[in-house]
Symmetry: C2
Subunit: 667 residues, 2 copies
């Protein structure tokens, strides 16, 4: 039964599993686990003593069918697919020096995968590969992956290498963590390296994921964090990971608790494993009807007897005590890790629905109101309030939210305002006119249906207010628009925003990268996407990229830019894979009033902007402690603006999006 | 005028150029060089003092056109394209810290490239990039490359870094050679690294090549060798590279001579550069008519006056003293570095033309004759000659060359033979019958029109002779065919060949890789090609891969194979790029009679096999002294055999050709 109900959360992580030992009666194993309130089991499919080379052969020399658990009839199809994760034989060793072991392993893994596929299992658990020595295993799994329809393969990886775990607390620990493999030069005891080599050989196949073994020892927080960007499906939590509370019940350390809740919120299923180390009296079980799990109700297995029940109850307790998602989170859930093409508001006209969504962002307009408020106070001293009318132009007025914010600021400050609302989208202008009539602003606001770059203004403005920023600041061509509009700004006039800066940082985002790859063309790998990052690991703090200031009276105006940035992967992170870059912006609206989504300074409760994702055509491996050197360009041609990007360390990528061939913003 | 005439050689390297200084009269520069017997000049296109930011502007603010050499009319279109390589301004520095220099450089490089393109020049020479700091320069060149039709860009790279050259002979030299750049971790003083970073950023564009500057100092032979696999178009040989002979004339060291002849034979053009350091009396010039080079004959520039003439004459002397290509070389010239799909002789029937070509390889059949000779002597002692008839079966007899070789061996040894010629191709069988009639072999040879795997032989054979080997030994399924045929071999019978082994080694082969890439699909990157390697650099000695022995009475027979190989790049090579692997074979026909193409033991004067090329989807960078770990599999399914391959060090590749999806040999 699910661990609990959280509003709006329909994720997989509500379901908790148990790792079961080999049994020739899988129906019994399953009933036992269901009776203990588990939702599924990870169970071996084959007798562990089976070896193809020792199998009986018929008189013709063909091998007898291997001893799979009974027949497919022992469970119903829906039981197989909902409640069983197949566990491939633990003795499989495809990179053994022994040719017979290799050959037996290859035969068996293919038989077991075919059997699991035949049963329509959702997933199979693959045994842990040898550290950095998995070429043949990966080749074989890769062959299997090509033939699968929907079944997932979960590669079992310990979160901490057994060698490191054994050395815990000794002087050896640090040395071991940075010990390199002689051939590959990779870090032997960083188990992420094991995973990375395996999945790279399998070409990042989308049906290959990770199941992490979690024991008492945890790596550093930054080392843990990189896993969030990996295709993590399950965490196998061992009973040895648990502490004992005062009453003798199992509980987890604060770090473990934090890890488990992070996993919950990233849709990772918990699987309990190991022997019971806490012999406590079971509390009276809450109403569980085994028949609701497909059992026939005749098994008299006492609910309370499952040895892992106390652990499950603790996990359910952790699940239920999580804060329910707030309104913004619920809004964003549907967008998590979902690629969206960025808007082209200059070339295209926005739709009513888009205006509707953005206008709801009260935080954003309240920041604008603060900025106009401060600008008006600076612009018009108290003694001149009655004699001065400030000319304020909203360029890109849309359906009027900035007009409203500006008028409210004028009202607050008691300053007189003459407003021009310039808007190029004739459809928005219709609504704008109607708003002005409705609000009785006819004397104050003039609507101009024109592109700001082409408008001949009747007078010069004191204040130019605009909201032309994209997720990456300048990516919706705010610089070009405002350069065009500043013709009608007084020399000492104010632009709100007065400046904005884009930020960028390397990320692990296997899901996003696979989604880009599924388009199967170059253009999608050279396009930026708007994305609500969720299962994304930030590998280093974002750094500033390009800054634009307004007004800008340089001659000639040059909005081309080039930066070279260096990101360092802290050694305690271990190694990581960079799938691309997360982009953000921060804008100074006026003096200390800012607005932005750069994670360290992001304006809270604002939902108008998600981050932007610049993919890499081929993910880049970063060894622990290495430096990534990123080049970023903003290029301009007569009819378009685009970015190009390239990496020159730790390895060299081609320049992406040359001449804006794949992705550009029209002028 | 060309350096000389060599039979069958129509390569570019017959033409020699001179580097010219800036002149506002390019016609004069060209005439002067042609009069000195040069074929072309590398000449600046723009006044070196030109800077866009300082250029005069018209009243509207637009820049005046830059000062290109006169107009396009000063030379005829054919003169521009045959005799001028444009030299882009030497001051260009796109990775300067100074933004103005960067901006001027970008403007100029684009103007110059556009001008050169307008003139239909065949190539432009690009100035040397900053060591490992070329991101912006490469981005800009990459943009230019996208717009070019046929013009080549030659990136100028010193063969030895100036810093290393200065340290020559000091203790510093070794340290400098292995000094790494702080950010990229690459070897700063290995100029190949400069090239590699640049071309990787430009995505291995096929119009981007190298022009190497050669001075007095040369790197180690293995360091030189890797350049042969790169797109090397020109070598700019400085007068400082020359020594002085007893008579005061310029000459080159033995190593330099060797390098120059290697360049000649790889179609690399020599360009002389620098000031004259050997003031010798010019010999009377041989008949040179400047008008034949497009000059109008009115310039009275004395032929003898070109200061680089003595150097040119030495180069021409080197060219002319090269050995003319022998018959085999002339045969192979047309096949050099040309991708051919490997034969599928089992699934397809060969054509008459193919038989014709292969039958001409007398070396091959003479080796077979030696092998049968030795086998007959071993099989039939002298005392039993008259009483014993040896049963010899040629499996895959084709049009009969092995039948002939076997009968000749029988004749030599005086042994009696009964021959069965088994052939599955009914078309070849027609010719085979006619041969036997023609030669009067009817009493000795029986023709069997049948697949050897299915034939029911009337008796058991003493000797089984076959020629089923491909360039990679087993790649045309010799193991499967012979396993099928050995049913009718006596238990103590002999198979010729008795064993064969494939070999493989990493290579730099930019031309081949670009040719594969031009197919623009995955399948071609996962296919092996038969290729006459020429502009290919072997980075490490080939190593044995798979061995098959015949007869093979193992049960069950298993022709699947897996090896893991380690190749080390010697530190004095510097770093290199691996585009794929060169494959070869060596076969033991019988005892000490072998046959093969593995470079270190290759049978001389044999042309039946070229090497085989296994590409990598993405070239792999190997730092100096690193180890490459290669995995190679031979996989078998009921109807096909295929290879898979992957690299796990120094970086990890995906497994290539999974399940034989791109390339396989049908059973």
């Amino acid at each position: 039964m699910p661990l609990g109900q959280r509003q709006g959360d329909n994720g997989e992580s509500r379901y908790c599993g148990a790792e079961a030992a080999w049994s020739s009666d899988i129906q019994d194993s399953l009933s036992f686990a269901l009776s203990g309130a588990f939702d599924f089991i990870i169970a071996p499919l084959t007798d562990p003593s089976y070896r193809p080379s020792k199998a009986k052969r018929d008189p013709e020399g063909s091998a007898i069918v291997p001893p799979f658990a009974g027949s497919d009839l022992v469970l119903s199809p829906s039981q197989w697919s909902s409640h069983i994760v197949g566990k491939l034989s633990g003795w499989l060793d495809l990179d053994s020096h022994d040719e017979l072991v290799r050959s037996d392993s290859e035969t068996t893994i293919k038989q077991e995968a075919a059997w699991a596929s035949h049963l329509s299992l959702q997933a199979c658990l693959l045994p842990t590969p040898r550290p950095l020595n998995c070429g043949n295993y990966a080749r074989c799994v890769n062959q299997v992956l090509q033939g699968l329809t929907s079944m997932q393969l979960w590669l079992r990886i310990p979160l901490v290498s057994p060698e490191l775990e054994a050395a815990q607390g000794t002087e050896e620990e640090d040395r071991l963590f940075l010990e390199r493999d002689e051939i590959t030069g990779r870090f032997k005891n960083d188990t992420w390296e094991w995973w990375n080599m395996f999945r790279t050989l399998c070409e990042h196949h989308s049906q290959l994921s990770v199941a992490l073994d979690i024991t008492a020892e945890l790596p550093s927080p930054s080392s843990l964090r990189r896993w969030i960007g990996e295709p993590l499906k399950a965490a196998i939590l061992h009973t040895s990971a648990f502490l004992t509370n005062k009453r003798g019940y199992p509980c987890l350390s604060r770090q473990h608790q934090h890890l488990i809740t992070t996993l919950f919120s990233h849709n990772v299923q918990i699987v309990l494993s190991g022997t019971c180390l806490h012999h406590v009296d079971q509390p009276p079980s809450t109403a569980i009807d085994p028949s609701s799990f497909g059992g026939n109700g005749t098994e008299d297995v006492a609910y309370s007897k499952h040895p892992l029940k106390p652990y499950l109850e603790y996990i359910a307790y952790l699940y239920r005590k999580m804060d329910p998602p707030d309104e913004q989170e619920r809004f964003e859930m549907g967008y998590r890790d979902f690629l969206q093409a960025p808007l082209q508001p200059l070339m295209d006209n926005l739709e009513a629905q888009t205006y509707e969504t953005f206008e709801k962002d009260s935080t954003k307009y309240s920041q604008y109101q603060k900025a106009v408020h401060a600008a008006l106070l600076d612009r018009v001293p108290d003694r001149m309030v009655s004699t001065t009318t400030t000319v304020l132009m909203v360029v890109g007025a849309g359906r009027g939210p900035l007009v409203r914010a500006s008028l409210q600021a004028a009202h607050e400050t008691g300053r007189k305002l003459r407003v021009y609302a310039v808007e190029k989208n004739p459809n928005a202008v219709v609504t704008l006119h109607s708003l002005i009539k409705l609000e009785g602003w006819e004397n104050v606001v003039t609507v101009i249906s024109c592109d700001m770059r082409r408008w001949n203004a009747p007078e010069q403005a004191d204040i130019l207010v605009s909201e032309l920023l994209g997720s990456f600041g300048d990516n919706e061509l705010s610089p070009e628009c405002l350069d065009g509009a500043q013709r009608f700004l007084k020399q000492d006039g104010i632009s709100i925003p007065s400046s904005y800066t884009s930020f960028i940082g390397p990320i692990t985002a296997s899901k996003l990268h696979n989604d880009v790859k599924s388009y199967a063309d170059l253009a999608h790998f050279e396009t930026a996407y708007v994305v609500k990052f969720h299962s994304v690991a930030r590998l280093a703090p974002p750094q500033p990229v390009f800054t634009f200031e307004h007004p800008n009276f340089d001659a000639p105006l040059d909005n081309r830019r080039y930066v070279k940035l260096k990101f360092e992967l802290s050694p305690d992170t271990g190694s990581a894979l960079v799938h691309g870059f997360g982009g953000y912006f921060d804008a100074v609206l006026y003096k200390d009033v800012h607005l932005g989504i750069e994670p360290s300074t992001a304006t809270p409760n604002m939902f108008s902007w998600f981050a932007i994702f610049f993919p890499l055509r081929k993910p880049i491996y970063m060894p622990a402690g290495s430096v990534l050197e990123l080049h970023f360009w903003r290029c301009i041609a007569p009819s378009k603006v685009w970015y190009e990007w390239a990496v020159t360390a730790p390895s060299v990528s081609p320049v992406h999006n040359v001449n804006g061939r794949s992705y550009w913003v029209g002028l």
